[in-house]
């Protein structure tokens, strides 16, 4: 059913934005990816931090909602939907990663660290620059996209002064991703792994940061 944005736009603001002309430059942002080495061949895989997340593949990734399955096994709606948490996530700014992941990330990692079946060395996280397109829902601290691809990685994790998610990372560009992991990332995703200070510039070559959300 097609809703008239002129009539329903005051109730559903997203109708007005989506009904306008489409942009061509993707939005870019940052996320923290969790590194897995799976199976006997130690194949590299990247996911988000939370328990409900995607496996990020090279090239374009497509968001699907993992909510209650609808008729004929279909997802309940196309992602990202209004009022739902679905979509491929990124933050506008590196500093906002701390705030955005503070609750979910800290709780999840604390749980994992208590579970002796899994170890969580720092090498298992990598700062990732991504570009989103399709339907993109812009939030205060980041965005949720229908499509997203990895543009670049950083071999450094940003400094965090207090004890927390990144509490053990040292100041001054402490290198937290090992060389074998860097090589595995490049081999699979075919994107550059750059110092932290260069990551924003690499992302600007692939798209635009969202402005004016604070």
């Amino acid at each position: 059913m097609q809703l008239d944005s002129g009539v329903w736009g005051t109730v559903f603001p997203e109708l007005r934005a989506v009904s306008g002309p489409a942009e061509t430059r993707p939005v870019v942002g940052f996320r923290v990816s969790r590194i897995h080495f799976i199976g006997a061949r130690r194949s590299l895989a990247l996911t988000g931090i939370g328990p409900r997340t995607y496996f990020w593949e090279p090239g374009r990734n497509v968001a699907t909602c993992s909510g209650p399955i609808g008729a004929f096994g279909k997802p309940p709606h196309e992602a990202p939907a209004a009022g739902c948490g679905c979509g491929l996530y990124a933050c506008h700014d590196i500093a906002e990663l701390h705030l955005a992941w503070m609750v979910q990330g800290a709780r999840y990692i604390a749980k994992m660290q208590w579970d002796s079946r899994f170890s969580t060395p720092y090498d298992q996280f990598v700062l990732t620059g991504v570009a989103g397109s399709g339907t993109v829902r812009i939030h205060q601290r980041g965005w949720r996209a229908q499509f997203a691809r990895i543009v670049a990685f950083s071999d450094e994790i940003p400094e965090r002064a207090s004890i927390g998610f990144f509490g053990r990372a040292k100041a001054g560009g402490h290198r937290v991703v090992s060389e074998p992991t860097v090589q595995a990332l490049v081999e699979k995703y075919r994107v550059p792994v750059v110092p932290l200070t260069e990551l924003p510039n690499v992302l600007r070559s692939a798209g635009d940061f969202v402005q004016g959300t604070s």
Binding site: A100, M102, S133, I138, Q140
Partner: protein, 38 residues
């Protein structure tokens, strides 16, 4: 992840040249074109 309040929605149709496609590797090695010598 808490992204805060939703502000707006945009539609982005990425141009093909800015959206590199992944390099697909064959699942197994290509068969040799050379005739088999017995």
């Amino acid at each position: 992840m808490n992204l805060g309040r939703e502000i707006r929605t945009v539609r982005i149709v990425e141009e093909p040249e800015t959206a590199p496609q992944p390099v697909e590797e064959p699942a197994w090695p290509e068969p040799s074109k050379e005739p088999v010598r017995e």
